[in-house]
Symmetry: C2
Subunit: 288 residues, 2 copies
DNA sequence: CTATATCGTTTAATTAATTTAAACGATGGA
DNA sequence: TCCATCGTTTAAATTAATTAAACGATATAG
């Protein structure tokens, strides 16, 4: 028969702090009769005594000591988890985005939002793909793409065309051999299986290309940038890498760009009722 | 406001195993209304949703997942501790003794007791000193000494005289220099501060000795035997070390022995009402 | 496109559990 | 010896949980 008196057990933890049931009752705003009943019931279902009854109060039995230790710990764990989850849901707004976007675009602007909305607990949740959204409590995601997502609300944040980037070696190879020849030898770094960005770019630039299998999928944009720097391949990147361009680390390999790509706010229809969500959307649109 | 709905939370853990409240209700022998109420109440006190209500059942929310994980763990810890403590008290008999006595004397004989009393869960609890008894649930302790303990019931198990033992070097030193001279240089290994065994022995053998400060206190008899083997000193040991004597590892340094020492059962008056305790005492007396 | 089955929720009544107040027995100290 | 102070017990009062039934929502079958 399974144990189910967890509320009584929680009372036991409280009562054990005192040296007598009377003391405990007074502090807990209950009568000593009530607490005596609780302990009695608990001891009966457990099958062993928790307290030794003395003339002037109670003391824990050895088993009581053991159980107290365990129960105290376990209850504390649950209580702190609840506290944490409560905190998250109290006036919280969680925005999912890549660490790339967070560090290169949002971070510098975020202080202003937090200052004008000090009551909103903002959380930035790093995500890689769309499926992360349902696993966590994320109200809004910020995604790069061409705005084609289904069953969700999509708001364009700003255009951010993408163009092929490579390191110095890649750049020089393009200069030497020309675009088509050089690209035939490059490994194409992609963000996912399904992304059609490279295909779109090839179509736009007017170069024929077969199905390429020597592509490397690197979902995280920061990692992808680093891979390009390390010469592992070429990737489609956007204006947010301007720092690396200016520093001469990264090079633009072609003038042709995917101009209809950009950053979008993606959120479900239902969260539009959340005033925090709308406050954030209204604010971020002024930043685009 | 502190969380106190641990019984509801425990229900939540049960319910989360199923895909619908109806399923859970049927398996738990409750109505779906009851479980719906529990979950509703729990969610209200928590301040966030645990389940997402679908048309054909329920699924955990992200916060529900998190809380479930934690609660499952913590409850399991408590439940397993309770199971353990219950097992101890169900027909359990715990005997405290040194590992020395347990391995050298009791172990070989114990099988018989367990065969004739298969319903008694016997536990051997290793102890070093008297104070261990009150910390744990020990009904009987087996101690070596001269039977002089107060406020407890004492029953002599068997006489087991003690005499000085040393390793081969010590033995040869006694042969060469004589008892008094050799002992003046030995470190005396003792079991505790308070033990007067060495003083008693010196008195009995008729050798004068001042207060010796170069004594080493090693409470555990097994460790003490090892210390003697390693030549760290000489110790008073009893017949239970006959193996080492026969193997030529340990040597008896004197014929003079503390003949009134032996092994005793020590227990409190109240445990005499416990039939398991009496069964053990009756049995072990036949083994003495 | 409608009928139906299957969810969870809600309501009000029933049932069960907890709490209380007061009396009680035990015990140690004044 | 009396008294104060424990925890326990009892029965009544109070509070809480459970039930049964009706309900609204929604996907599926026909």
């Amino acid at each position: 028969m399974a144990f189910r008196n967890f509320d009584d057990l929680r009372s036991f933890v409280d009562i054990a702090q005192f040296n007598s049931i009377s003391d405990a009752a007074e502090k807990m705003n209950l009568t000593k009769g009530a607490l005596s009943h609780r302990i009695k019931r608990l001891e009966e279902t457990l099958g062993f005594m928790l307290f030794k009854r003395n003339v002037r109060g109670i003391t824990l039995t050895p088993k009581g000591e053991d159980l107290l230790m365990q129960a105290k710990n376990s209850f504390a764990q649950i209580e702190s988890q609840i506290f944490h989850l409560k905190e998250i849901s109290d006036n919280a707004l969680t925005i999912g985005m890549s660490t790339y976007f967070a560090s290169r675009w949002l971070s510098p602007r975020l202080m202003e939002f937090m200052n004008t909305n000090p009551n909103i607990r903002l959380r930035i949740e790093p995500i890689l793909d769309m499926s992360d959204k349902i696993e966590k409590d994320i109200q809004i995601t910020i995604r790069w793409g061409n705005g084609q997502w289904r069953n969700v609300e999509v708001t364009k944040l700003f255009s951010c065309p993408a163009w092929p980037t490579g390191n110095k070696d890649a750049y020089e190879k393009v200069q030497r051999e020309g675009l088509e020849s050089a690209f035939a030898k490059f490994t194409l770094l992609r963000d996912s299986d399904k992304s059609s960005a490279w295909t779109n770019w090839y179509n736009k630039v007017g170069v024929q290309h077969g199905t390429r299998y020597d592509t490397l999928i690197i979902p995280d944009p920061n990692v992808r940038v680093q891979a390009v720097l390390d010469g592992q391949g070429v990737a489609l990147n956007d204006d947010l890498i301007s720092n690396e361009i200016e520093a001469g680390q990264l090079f633009r390999l072609s003038d042709c760009e995917l101009s209809d790509y950009g950053y979008f706010l993606v959120y479900s229809e239902e969260v539009q009722n959340d005033p925090n969500v709308m406050a954030f959307i209204d604010w971020i649109k002024t930043q685009g």
